[in-house]
C-alpha cells in the first residue's frame, strides 16, 4: 500500500479530459512518424476521380526491408498547412485515395498500415456533394474484403466515422495519449445535454481513453509515449514487423474471416 502511494506521487494517472487535451496537441507529426518508422517512403497522390486530398498522405515504404503500404491522416504542421488540411479532416477524395492505395496493396500482397489523427471527416459543402457518407461506407466495406494484413494506429484524435474508415483492420493500436470516440466530447455534451461546455464531464463518461478501449477490446495494444521519439518509432517498427509476420501465416480466407469476426463481436 505504501508503495502504491509512493508511486502515485510520481506517476499521475491522467483524467480522460487531460487525455483529450493531449491527444489534440502536436505531439507527433505525420511526416515524422513516416520517416521514423519506415524507410524509402515514396508518396503517391490522387484518387483518380476528383482530386488529391493533402490531409491523407499515402504511399509505399519499407518496414525492415519489406514493402508496406502506408496511409496517414495528417493535421499539418504550421497554420497554413493545418488550414489546407482542415486540421486533419479528410474530404471524400481523401478516403477514395486511401481506397485506391488499399486496392493496390491488395493486388501486390503488401500489408497496410494506417496512422490516424482526425477530429472527423470534414463536414463541408463539397464533401457532402461528393458523397462523404459513401466514401466512408465504401472504405469500411472494402477493408472487409482485403486479403492482406492490416493494422491501424491512432496517434492523436480518432474521431468517429472519419477515423473508422481507416480503422476497420485486423488490429487497432493507440498511442498512450490518443482518443477514439463516436464524437468529440464537446459535440457529445451539446447533443445529449445541450451544453458543449460540459465537455470534461462528457469525456469522463464516454470511455474514449486507450485504457477504456483496451478493456472493451476495441483496441489490441497501447503504445507508450516518450519524449524520445526515435524510441517510440523503434518500438512501433518492431511490433509491426512481429504482428505482420504472425498475420502473414494466415491464409487469405482466414485473415478476412478473422477480421470480420473481430468486428462481429461488438
Amino acid at each position: 500500500m505504501a508503495v502504491n502511494i509512493g508511486l502515485k506521487l510520481f506517476k499521475h494517472e491522467p483524467t480522460p479530459a487531460e487525455v483529450v487535451k493531449k491527444s489534440r496537441e502536436d505531439r507527433f507529426f505525420a511526416r515524422e512518424i513516416i520517416d521514423g518508422v519506415f524507410n524509402d517512403f515514396i508518396e503517391f497522390h490522387g484518387d483518380r476521380q476528383s482530386g488529391d486530398d493533402m490531409s491523407v498522405i499515402g504511399g509505399i515504404a519499407t518496414l525492415n526491408d519489406k514493402p508496406v503500404t502506408v496511409i496517414v491522416i495528417d493535421k499539418g504542421t504550421d497554420i497554413h498547412d493545418k488550414l489546407s488540411k482542415r486540421n486533419g479532416s479528410p474530404e471524400p477524395w481523401g478516403y477514395r485515395k486511401a481506397q485506391r492505395l488499399m486496392q493496390q496493396a491488395n493486388k501486390f500482397h503488401r500489408p497496410i498500415v494506417t496512422f490516424i489523427n482526425t477530429p472527423g471527416a470534414f463536414p463541408g459543402k463539397t464533401a457532402e456533394v461528393q458523397g462523404q457518407g459513401e466514401a466512408i461506407a465504401k472504405s469500411i466495406l472494402e477493408s472487409m474484403k482485403l486479403a492482406v494484413p492490416m493494422i491501424s494506429i491512432i496517434y492523436g484524435e480518432g474521431g468517429s466515422g472519419g477515423a473508422l474508415a481507416l480503422a476497420t483492420t485486423d488490429q487497432v493500436w493507440m498511442f498512450q495519449n490518443a482518443t477514439y470516440s463516436i464524437l468529440s466530447p464537446e459535440g457529445f455534451a451539446s447533443i445529449l445535454w445541450k451544453d458543449s461546455k460540459r465537455s470534461e464531464e462528457a469525456a469522463a463518461v464516454m470511455g474514449l481513453t486507450p485504457k477504456d478501449l483496451l478493456e472493451k477490446n476495441v483496441i489490441e495494444y497501447v503504445i507508450p509515449e516518450s519524449r524520445n521519439h526515435p524510441r517510440v518509432f523503434n518500438l512501433i517498427r518492431k511490433k509491426l514487423d512481429d504482428e505482420f509476420s504472425l498475420l502473414n501465416e494466415l491464409s487469405p480466407e482466414e485473415l478476412i474471416q478473422k477480421r470480420r469476426a473481430r468486428f462481429r463481436a461488438f
Binding site: K125, E128, G131, G133, K138, V205, K216, V218, F266
Partner: protein, 279 residues
Amino acid sequence: MDLYDNQKSTSKIKRDASVNDRIPDGLFLACPYCGVQMYNKQLGEHRVCAHCGYGFRLQARERVALLTQSFEEMDSDIEIVAPDFPGYADKLARAKSQTELGESVLTGIATIEDAKVALGIMDSYFMMGSLGSMTGEKITRLFEYATEKKLPVVLFTASGGARMQEGINSLMQMAKVSAAVAQHQEAGLLYLVVLTDPTTGGVTASFAMQGDITLAEPHALVGFAGARVIESTIHEKLPKDFQRVETLLENGFVDKIVPRPELGHVISQLVKLHYRAEA
C-alpha cells in the same frame, strides 16, 4: 332605430368554448417539406403529401402493413442489456412503448408482391432511429440469415446517426454490419437500399450507402453531416434541398426516386429481375 338594436345583439354571440374539445388533434397537418396545410385524410393510407409527394415518417410496423403481403418477424426478443448511461434506460423504455419495437429496427422475412425478401425497416420514432448495438445486431443477423438462405435484403434506412449513449460500441456497429454486407455481396446476392426521411450520420456512412441498388422516397433528407454543423464550419448558408435525395440523385448517389405507393411494385420487380433463373 330597430336597425341599430339588431346590430347590438350580434356582438353578444359568444365564441364556442368547447370547439377544441370537439375537433380532434392532427385533423389538419402541414407537410414538413413543402409546408402546405392539408386535411389528414388527404394523405391517404400511404401518408403522402397530396401537394409535393413527400412521404410522412412512418413507424416500422405501419410500413410493414402497407408494403408486405406477409411478414414473419425475426429476433423480436433481442433487447439491449444493462444500458448503464444515465437516463438511457428511461429513454429506451419510452421508445419501446411508443413503437412496439425492441430496438430501432424491425427485421423479418417478408413477401412483397410475391417476391420473398429479408426485410429490415428502421424506425425514426425509436430514439431517432439511432444506431445502437442491438440495432446493429439485428441488421447483421438479417444479412447473415439472408446469406445462408440465399435471399435478397431490402433495407429501409431512417436514422439520426450513432446512438450517443452507447459510445464507441455504436461506432463499431458500422463495421459489424459492413462485414455482414460484404459476406452477403460475395455470395452474389442482391442488397437493395431504400433511403427514407431522414437518413444521416453513421448509417449514411455505412450500410445505407453500400447497396447494389439505392432507391429513395421523394424529398427524403439524406446526408452525412448535419446541416447546422456544415453551416457553422464553412460559415455560409446552405441552399434549399441541399441534402434532399433529389440533389443526391443529381450528384450520382441514388439510382431512382420512387413515390411511396409504387415502392412495393418496384422492389418486387427488381428482386424478380435478379432471381429469374430460380423463379
